[in-house]
């Protein structure tokens, strides 16, 4: 029994470290890619690590107008919840439920991931309101509006895919194990593939909004609000927020990889055991880097920042419509393939 607990603790610590290291490494790659696209040299790859180290050396200033309890608690909650999402995502062939690191029990599936992804954003909103600065209040309002905006397309994408898997006869369609074992592309027919591509587009667009990057970085607009939500944060609190953003980057990209690109290398090469886990982890990182390049870096470099009402109309209008069309196509595909068997 105690060895189980020890194993779980070891798994938790390892995944947390992986989340931090991989997240900061991804941020470094994002910055270098963006710089090269702008004909600049860019910072060294380890720059985010240096930034976090520098932030941890400085003291956290709590403004006089702020509510200290909420102000200091928000970064901790944000970081903890961002890392918790990683426990429920398959990292390569390391599945959350089962082998080789049983960190979580049998519970924990896509719906839980969706809800957990909202918690870091909520923590930032609470931190923003507790900062006592008008810039932070405006940033927090915008973050709430953005959150409301992008949740709907995200939910549509996830539910559509899970429904299709359920119609195909797989039990526990929302479980990540099922998704990892049966990629959606192998289950649907040709109409469904078009639907899945539409849902992929939707997910690629939800990612920058979720991660607060240009064009949807209105909550943390540097030139408009001096940093918006995070304007009063410094030192250790800001380091924790940065780490939570790094972990969320891995989580969000990992979610996209899970839904649309869950293949692993080890069956192809034919290794098993720890070697397989290692190779698959690296392959997972490579996939995450590709997803991040196209949905975060490229988008960040070629567009200006949107206004908040543009963000709402884009996500509630256009992307919801595209998502619904995708879902509709998947429904048609499911009912054609299993003629009449509509769950």
């Amino acid at each position: 029994m105690s060895s189980d607990i020890l194993l779980t603790l070891a798994g938790v610590v390892l995944v947390t470290l992986f989340g931090i290291v991989a997240g900061l490494f991804l941020m470094g790659i994002d910055r270098i890619c963006a710089a090269r696209m702008q004909m600049r040299q860019g910072p060294p790859l380890t720059q985010p690590f240096t930034d976090i180290r520098k932030l941890l050396c400085k003291d956290s200033v709590v403004p006089a107008n702020a509510i200290p309890a909420l102000f200091n608690a928000a970064p901790i909650v944000a970081f903890a919840s961002a890392v918790t999402v990683l426990f429920y995502l398959p990292l390569g062939s390391i599945l959350p439920v089962g082998t080789p690191l049983p960190m979580v029990g049998e519970y924990g599936d896509l719906i839980l991931i969706m809800y957990l992804l909202t918690v870091p954003a909520l923590a930032m909103v609470v931190g923003g309101f507790a900062s006592g600065s008008p810039y932070a209040s405006v940033g927090a309002q915008r973050e709430m509006v953005t959150m409301i905006a992008y949740e709907l397309p995200l939910a549509i994408a996830i539910v559509a895919i899970a429904w299709r898997l359920a119609v195909a006869g797989l039990v526990m369609p929302f479980s990540v194990n099922t998704l990892a074992a049966h990629p959606i592309w192998t289950v649907v027919g040709p109409i469904g593939i078009i639907g899945c591509i539409l849902l992929l587009i939707v997910l690629v667009w939800v990612t920058p909004a979720e991660l607060s990057r240009i064009p949807c970085d209105t909550p943390e607009a540097e030139t408009e609000l001096c940093g918006g939500l995070l304007v009063e944060y410094s030192g250790r609190n800001l380091a924790l927020f940065s780490l939570s953003m790094a972990a969320k980057l891995v989580a969000m990209a990992g979610l996209s990889v899970l839904l649309f690109l869950p293949w692993n290398l080890s069956p192809v090469i034919g290794i098993s055991g720890i070697g397989a886990a290692g190779i698959d982890l690296l392959f997972f990182l490579a996939k995450v880097i590709v997803v991040m390049f196209f949905s975060v870096t490229l988008v960040r470099v070629v567009m200006a920042r949107f206004r908040i009402n543009t963000v709402v109309s884009l996500y509630w209008g256009w992307l919801t419509t595209i998502g619904l069309i995708g879902m509709f196509l998947i429904i048609i595909d499911g009912s054609i393939t299993y003629a009449g068997c509509l769950l």
Binding site: Q38, A221, E222, R305, I308
Partner: protein
């Protein structure tokens, strides 16, 4: 989110990432919408006119270069013109043409700099880096001609200190061809981009009538449809001999709205116009000396004796720039020197164009009139006790009431 949003005050500045220079804005907001704007400039006041009244005119010329980094040579040009008018110095024609070339090169560099800053305010850093990289070519040519990238030190009473010899023409032509080749790319990147159009069209609208009433100048006025340009209305230097059109937004758009997008259009097309003007100047430049009075000692002695007052104006990249100079013939330093920069006229437009806009648009609207507070801040307000501050109407009223009471006793 559905309860009534309480009005609150949002200060922007003096130090803020959106502002390139310190200005103290106070916005009265309702939710995300601006209701009223108030601003207090005066934070970059360096006492340049005070310094000027203690120096002889040659020293003031170099001081004028440093009034502003981006439009410095226009300040030097207008001061030189003013003193030349008082002292009745005849400037040789070749010097007029060289002055025109340098002024237009500065205009190119200033407008490209502004384009990059505007892109940065929108969050579009790629265009910011691209614009400033493009600007490097013009600054390199200026360094080749004048010896320094900023603060050129090339104007002198009676002409210019350096000549543009024919062996320098290939380098200048290379820069001009570079910009001509890039012009279409700039138009494409800035004016056809959907996200920039989304942010800039119908934002910060200044109608033609209000632009006239608020006495705006320069590209801000031209973008609202006013056809005013000092180079055409009262030509100075070599502009009288050249063929110049006034750039209005109709060169690219179908109709003039007077929004931020129009201002981008006007400035980008003015870059093209400047390239054309420089080519005309290089083709038409006459031979001759570049300085009316070569011996500086004689020049200084002459300037010590002149008396008179005048004002002169030029079209700086931001609009009309005017200097008033009065010399009394008894001392070397001018008796009075006042600089009225272009942003001084344009800044009241802020009150008009910021009303009713969202916070997200504040940086780009503030930057769209191309503010240069270094040029503008000339006067600080000091009250009777010697402290700095703003005299409000209530305070003045109270003072006069108290004085009346004192007199009645």
């Amino acid at each position: 989110m559905s309860e009534k949003k309480a009005p609150y005050e949002l200060p922007i500045g003096p130090i803020h990432p959106a502002l390139k220079e310190p200005i103290n804005f106070t916005f009265k907001m309702n939710g995300e919408v601006v209701e009223e704007v108030d601003f207090a400039p005066g934070r970059v006041h360096r006492g340049i006119e005070w310094m000027g009244m203690r120096r002889n005119p040659v020293q003031i010329l170099h001081l004028c270069d440093r009034i502003c980094g981006i439009c410095g040579v226009h300040h030097a040009l207008v001061f030189a013109q003013a003193v030349e008018q008082i002292a009745e110095i005849d400037v040789p024609d070749r010097a007029y043409y060289i002055r025109t070339i340098i002024a237009e090169l500065e205009r190119i560099q200033s407008h490209i700099l502004w384009a990059g800053v505007a892109a940065h305010e929108l969050g579009f850093d790629t265009l910011f880096y691209l614009a400033w990289q493009i600007r490097e070519e013009s600054v390199d040519v200026i360094e080749y001609i004048t010896g320094n990238r900023i603060n050129y030190g090339i104007m002198m009473f009676g002409g210019t200190r350096r000549d543009i010899t024919p062996d320098m023409y290939p380098r200048i032509n290379q820069a001009l061809s570079y910009y001509e080749g890039l012009f279409d790319k700039m138009v494409n990147l800035f004016l056809t981009d959907k996200t920039i159009a989304m942010r800039c069209k119908n934002t910060g609208v200044l109608s033609k009538r209000r632009a006239l009433e608020l006495a705006t100048v320069g590209p801000t006025a031209r973008a609202s449809g006013l056809a005013m340009d000092v180079r055409v209305d009262s030509p100075y230097a070599a502009y009288g001999d050249l063929d110049i059109d006034i750039i209005l937004p109709e060169v690219y758009r179908d109709e003039t709205v007077g929004d931020v997008y129009d201002r981008i259009v006007v400035r980008i097309f003015e870059v093209k116009q400047s390239i054309g003007i420089i080519r005309q100047c290089m083709a038409q430049m006459p031979e001759g000396p570049v300085l009316a009075e070569e011996k500086y000692a004689k020049l200084l002695l002459g300037l010590k004796k002149v008396a008179g007052e005048t004002f002169a104006r030029v079209e700086a990249p931001r609009g009309e720039d005017m200097h008033y100079v009065r010399m009394n013939g008894k001392q070397e330093a001018p008796e009075m020197w006042k600089v009225k920069a272009s942003t001084y006229s344009n800044q009241m437009a802020w009150v008009e164009i910021l009303r009713g806009e969202q916070i997200a648009d504040i940086p780009i609207i503030v930057a769209s009139i191309d503010p240069c507070m270094s040029c503008t801040d000339r006067v600080a307000v000091v009250n009777q006790e010697g402290e700095g501050g703003i005299l409000t109407k209530e305070y003045l009223h109270r003072l006069s009431v108290e004085k009346t009471r004192r007199m009645q006793v």
